[in-house]
């Protein structure tokens, strides 16, 4: 009996150990080249990582003496934050990693990040193309710069769009003021603008897209609040600096939005929609006015479903409507960056120079084209103007824009700086399949940038409120719109006082002080 016991327990041990060892792939120690662990933000999340035989690894090893170890960050921002913060808590950050500004601000006081102020001079080519005073200031915390802020998405890349074909059907002209906008939204809702005989359209379409500098009701409704001069979380005008919600014009804007909601001329699903629902909705012709991003609207694969559904459909970019005091704005804009930070651990291990060499190489012609488009003749060819195109390739599936080739351009956000070559390559001209219109997301972008915007460079670095205050803010405003709170001047004042008491005043004062300190006021 005893022997039996021992035997079965040994069996259990062996199986357990086996199952463990099966999964324990030991890390190999590299003796020659320096290992640099890089957590990157994938350029195309749905395509896989660079293959293990990617030519870049060899070049980087040979030329720079770096063994590059890649990890794709999760595909969603809050997942990225969680992963990075967990690694930070265990003091296990990688050598070089992409990180959002908010998270960086929490890691720096923990002493986990190395300052980068001295590094700009060591990589002159990259600094010339990628960094200026604004970008250096973007990651500056307590007087030191803690991250290399590379150019992110292009400024002012959104616009207010209107269904011109609906206007024509109803014999209306493009609205110039909020009053005309109201008239037109009513017509779009009640007068069957698509002539399909059904009452299934609305004037405005939106969803709640909220971030640090575009607080509730968020980005999609900024053009309405811009008409009252209170677009964005903050006002950064010297004379008028502070939280917009505390300004009397904000109340007027709320009254306007309330009217729009009560009349039912905004798609009533706007409070329930998520981003994908909203984007599916305009492609199905549910509403006639919206604020949308240039590529989400105009890039080939995004526009195609709309084109097929509505060959006669025609969105045009319009000026933001003027409010009662003549103000107008698409919304606030700021400079967007992708920050790459170096961990204090890596700096301590003496890896900084290698990292600098890597970053500088990426900005060289070799690195730029290799990471941006792949290998010439395999993944891309250059056209007459020297712009990389996906044409005349021996294997079309390996083109930088095809599934087979996308994996080798996953690091391209580390080399791109929104130069003209990139934009032409990213947003090529095309002819739509059904209506045979000539389109280009780049042309859309250029037109969007000419409209009125509110300059708020750096507004995304201002202090953020704690979770309770943030909730009080968002919940309160939305309750005024849904009618759970009655929107009267008295109620508004009462709510605002409570907001200030809860920490709103403090948030306001801190924000203004921060903006003044960092020269963000205009």
């Amino acid at each position: 009996m005893k022997r039996n016991c021992t035997r079965s327990s040994m069996l259990v041990t062996v199986v357990l150990l086996l199952s463990l060892s099966l999964f324990a792939q030991g890390a190999k120690e590299a003796t020659g080249p320096t290992t640099i662990e890089l957590w990157y933000g994938a350029a195309i999340t749905e395509a896989g990582p660079p293959p293990s035989d990617w030519v870049g690894f060899g070049i980087i090893k040979e030329k720079l003496g770096i063994e590059l170890k890649l990890t794709a960050l999760p595909s969603n921002e809050s997942d990225q934050d969680v992963k990075i913060q967990a690694a930070a808590a265990a003091n296990n950050l990688p050598d070089l990693f992409m990180v959002r500004r908010d998270v960086l601000g929490r890691l720096v006081p923990q002493g986990l990040i190395a300052p980068v102020d001295d590094l700009y001079a060591k990589m002159p080519v990259r600094t010339a193309a990628h960094y200026d005073d604004v970008s250096k200031g973007h990651a500056r915390i307590g007087g030191k710069s803690y991250g290399l802020a590379d150019p992110g998405s292009i400024m002012k890349n959104e616009g207010l769009l209107i269904r011109k074909d609906w206007l024509d059907n109803l014999g209306l002209t493009i609205p110039k003021t909020t009053d005309e906008l109201l008239v037109m939204m009513r017509a779009f809702t009640f007068n069957d603008p698509d002539k399909n005989g059904r009452n299934d359209t609305w004037g405005y379409g939106a969803f709640q897209e909220i971030n640090n500098f575009e607080a509730w009701p968020g980005r999609r409704l900024e053009p309405l609040f811009g008409a009252f001069g209170v677009d964005g979380t903050w006002s950064l005008e010297e004379a008028n600096a502070g939280l917009n919600v505390m300004k009397p014009e904000f109340y007027d804007a709320m009254v306007f939005l309330k009217q729009v909601a009560d009349e039912g001329i905004i798609d009533p699903n706007w409070l329930s929609y998520k981003k994908d629902d909203f984007r599916a909705a305009w492609k199905q012709g549910r509403f006639g006015i919206m604020r949308e991003q240039n590529a989400a609207f105009g890039a080939q694969s995004n526009y195609a479903p709309f084109d097929k559904n509505f060959p006669e459909g025609n969105w045009v970019i319009i000026d933001p409507p003027k409010g009662p005091k003549g103000k107008a704005s698409i919304g606030p804009y700021t400079a967007n960056f992708r920050i790459y930070a170096i961990s204090a651990k890596a700096a301590k291990e003496g890896k900084t120079d290698k990292i600098v060499a890597l970053m500088e190489w990426m900005a060289s012609d070799e690195g730029y084209y290799l990471l941006g488009w792949g290998v010439e003749g395999v993944n891309y060819t250059k056209d007459a103007n020297g712009i990389p195109v996906a044409a005349n390739l021996p294997n079309a599936n390996l083109a930088f824009s095809a599934p087979g080739g996308q994996t080798v351009t996953q690091l391209r956000n580390m080399v791109f700086y929104n130069g003209d070559i990139e934009l032409y390559a990213r947003y090529p001209k095309y002819v739509t399949e059904t209506s045979k219109k000539e389109m280009s997301a780049l042309a859309v972008l250029r037109e969007m940038q000419t409209k009125d915007w509110t300059a708020q460079i750096g507004s995304d670095t201002l202090p953020i409120p704690n979770a309770d205050l943030k909730r009080f803010y968002e919940q309160g405003l939305s309750e005024f719109i849904t009618g759970k709170r009655v929107l009267t001047p008295a109620n508004w004042t009462k709510w605002l006082d409570e907001f200030k008491r809860l920490g709103g005043q403090d948030w306001n004062d801190k924000g203004v002080a921060f903006a003044r300190e960092n020269n963000l006021l205009t």
């Binding site: 009996m1 039996n4 016991c5 079965s8 199986v15 357990l16 199952s19 463990l20 099966l22 999964f23 324990a24 792939q25 890390a27 662990e37 957590w39 994938a42 350029a43 195309i44 999340t45 749905e46 395509a47 896989g48 293990s52 890649l70 990890t71 794709a72 999760p74 595909s75 969603n76 969680v82 992963k83 967990a86 808590a89 265990a90 990688p94 299934d200 981003k275 994908d276 599916a280 492609k283 199905q284 991003q293 590529a295 890039a299 080939q300 694969s301 995004n302 195609a304 479903p305 709309f306 097929k308 559904n309 824009s401 599934p403 087979g404 996308q406 990213r426 947003y427 090529p428 997301a441």
Partner: protein, 311 residues
Amino acid sequence: MVMKQQNKQSRYRRVGTTSVAIKPGKSDHVFNLVVDLFLIVLLVIIAVPLWSTITLSFRPNDYIGNNLQGMFLAPWEWSFSAYKALLGNQGFLLAFKNSFLILTGGVVTALLLTIPLAYVLSIPTLPGRKYLSLLVVIPYVFNVGMIPTYLLVTNIGLIDHLAAIFLPGAISTYNCLIMRSFFEGLPSELKESARIDGASEIQVLVRIILPLSKAIIMTIGLFYGVSFWNDFFHAMLYLNSNHLQPLPILLRNILMASGMNEYVEVSAFGDAPIAAIKAASVFMSAIPMIIAYPFIQKYFTKGTLLGSVKG
């Protein structure tokens, strides 16, 4: 109702005596009708999300129609692009392999750890059983959260190993205690007679308990398998190497693409709408269940237990 019984282990006998006291009744037809009606209503209710998910997964990109058509009726134009996008993804096979390793490694480890513990906890005469139970319940109730466990996983060097996905969850207190309650329900006479014959507890477990508990072991194994198969969060947290990423990560990367990649000129999944891909990925997450459940159902037949006891 006779609920108090001297012999605590003999639930069977207890229920048996109870049934003797029942007076005859004649409402069986009504009963059957109510049962059938309930199941039919339930089928309809369940069919709504299932059918709408299926039609959604075949929906072409440019689909328009009113909500009713969108939800219940098959689109007049079917499209397999969502499935193509998922199955045709270059990383699919690798991710599937990783998930499969996590699943098998996880279920084997979990069962090897859970069964002995559940069995020991089910021995009524075990000294200190109460405290042992408490020891098992405390970590279940006091969930200290992500970071304390993350620190442990880092310290024992499990970061970037597939085992990190299933080891921290290899004993689920919930599953363990459910299993214990099944072991407790087995006729105690069998265990007692084996013990009197001089069998060790290990022998009792292997020779008597396990053959009688196939249904519950498979059920609990299934619970473990499904949770490991679909574990996105720990994979996201603990795995760094690109070649170790399992299926939930791949699915998430595809699903999130529309949110992250709006600046991109082309879409890697061609003409599949994001909603269709979301719907199609549901069936990926149910794969182990769809494969394993029919086998388990074989054990879900009335009176399996008694047959084996008598045999």
